[in-house]
C-alpha cells in the first residue's frame, strides 16, 4: 500500500533543464523487449512440419494478426503494415501481463509508454494518408464540411491520440490499483488470484487488442 504511486526517477540536468527518466519503466520495457526476442527466437528455431509449442503460438499470433491487417487494409497495403501491427500487439501483451510477476510493473502503467505508442500510431497513420492521397487531397479533408471547421477537425484528430493512450493507461493503472487495494483489504486471502486473472490477464489482453485494432483502424481511415 505504501508503494502506491511511488516511482523511481533519475533526474539529469541537461542544458539548463531537468531530464526525468522513470527507471522502473525503462527497465521493465527492456525486459518486455527481451522476452519478445526470446519468444521470437524459440518460435523460429528448429521449425518443422510437426511444430513445437512455441512455434504453434508464434504461428497463431502471426497468422491471425496478418489476416486481420489484410482484412482492414487490402492485400497489397496490408503487406507493408502487418509486421508493425503484429509487433505492436505482442509488445503490448507482454507489457500488460508483466504485472503478474511479483516485483514487476507493467510499463503501460506509466502514461509515457501508451502516449508514445499512440503518437507513433498517429504519425504513421498520417504519413500513410499523405503518401496515399497526396498532400493536397489529405489537407482537403480538414476543410470538410465548411472551411471554418478546420480547427475543430484538427482538435478532433489530435484527441484521438489522447483517447487511445489514456484508454490503455487508465485500464492498466486502474486494474493494478484495484488488485493492490483489494488484496490489501482482504489480507491477501483467496481473492488475489481471481483478481489477477480478471484485471491483468483478461483486461490486459482485451486492451492490447483494442489498442492494436484502433491503430489499424486509424491507418485504414487515412488510407481509404
Amino acid at each position: 500500500m505504501e508503494d502506491l504511486g511511488r516511482i523511481h526517477q533519475l533526474i539529469v540536468p541537461f542544458m539548463g533543464r531537468d531530464l526525468t527518466f522513470n527507471l522502473d519503466v525503462i527497465v521493465m520495457t527492456w525486459i518486455a523487449i527481451a522476452a519478445m526476442l526470446v519468444f521470437g527466437f524459440l518460435a523460429s528455431r528448429n521449425r518443422s512440419r510437426l511444430p513445437g509449442p512455441f512455434q504453434v503460438l508464434g504461428e497463431l499470433f502471426v497468422s491471425q494478426l496478418y489476416a486481420l491487417t489484410e482484412d482492414a487494409l487490402d492485400q497489397e497495403r496490408g503487406k507493408a503494415y502487418r509486421p508493425l501491427i503484429c509487433a505492436l500487439f505482442m509488445f503490448l501483451l507482454f507489457c500488460n501481463w508483466m504485472g503478474l510477476f511479483p516485483h514487476m510493473h507493467e510499463p503501460t502503467k506509466d502514461l509515457n509508454t501508451p502516449l508514445s505508442l499512440g503518437l507513433m500510431g498517429f504519425v504513421i497513420a498520417h504519413y500513410a494518408g499523405i503518401k496515399q492521397k497526396g498532400f493536397k487531397e489529405y489537407a482537403k479533408a480538414y476543410f470538410q464540411p465548411i472551411f471554418f471547421m478546420a480547427p475543430l477537425n484538427i482538435i478532433g484528430e489530435l484527441s484521438k491520440v489522447i483517447s487511445i493512450s489514456f484508454r490503455l493507461f487508465g485500464n492498466i493503472m486502474g486494474g493494478s490499483i484495484i488488485v493492490l487495494v483489494v488484496s490489501h483489504l482482504v489480507f491477501s486471502l483467496v481473492l488475489p488470484p481471481f483478481l489477477n486473472a480478471f484485471f491483468v490477464i483478461f483486461i490486459g489482453a482485451i486492451q492490447a487488442f483494442v489498442f492494436t485494432m484502433l491503430t489499424l483502424v486509424y491507418i485504414s481511415v487515412q488510407v481509404n
Binding site: 482484412d71 482492414a72 475543430l152 482538435i155 478532433g156 484527441s159 483502424v217 481511415v221 481509404n224
Partner: protein, 82 residues
C-alpha cells in the same frame, strides 16, 4: 474560509469545466453506442459488406463524437484560459 471575487470566479470555472465535460459526455457516449449496436446488427445480417459497414460506423461515430470534443474544448478553455 475567506471567499473573494477572483476565488469565486475560479471556483465557478472549475465547476463549470467538470460539469461541461461530465454531462457533455453522456450524449455522445450513448449515441456512439447506438451506432455500434446498429453496425453489429447490420454485419450480422449482411456479413459480406463488413468492411464498408465498419467504415461507415467509424465515420458516424466520429461525427457524433464532435459534440463531445466541443465539451472537451470548452472544459479546457474554462480550466486554462478563464
Amino acid at each position: 474560509m475567506a471567499i473573494e471575487g477572483i476565488d469565486l470566479i475560479k471556483a465557478a470555472s472549475f465547476l463549470g469545466a467538470g460539469l461541461a465535460m461530465g454531462l457533455g459526455a453522456i450524449g455522445p457516449g450513448v449515441g456512439e453506442g447506438m451506432v455500434g449496436a446498429k453496425a453489429c446488427e447490420a454485419i450480422g445480417k449482411n456479413p459480406g459488406e463488413a468492411g464498408l459497414l465498419t467504415r461507415t460506423m467509424l465515420v458516424g461515430q466520429a461525427v457524433s463524437e464532435s459534440t463531445g470534443i466541443y465539451s472537451l474544448v470548452i472544459a479546457l478553455l474554462l480550466l486554462f484560459v478563464v
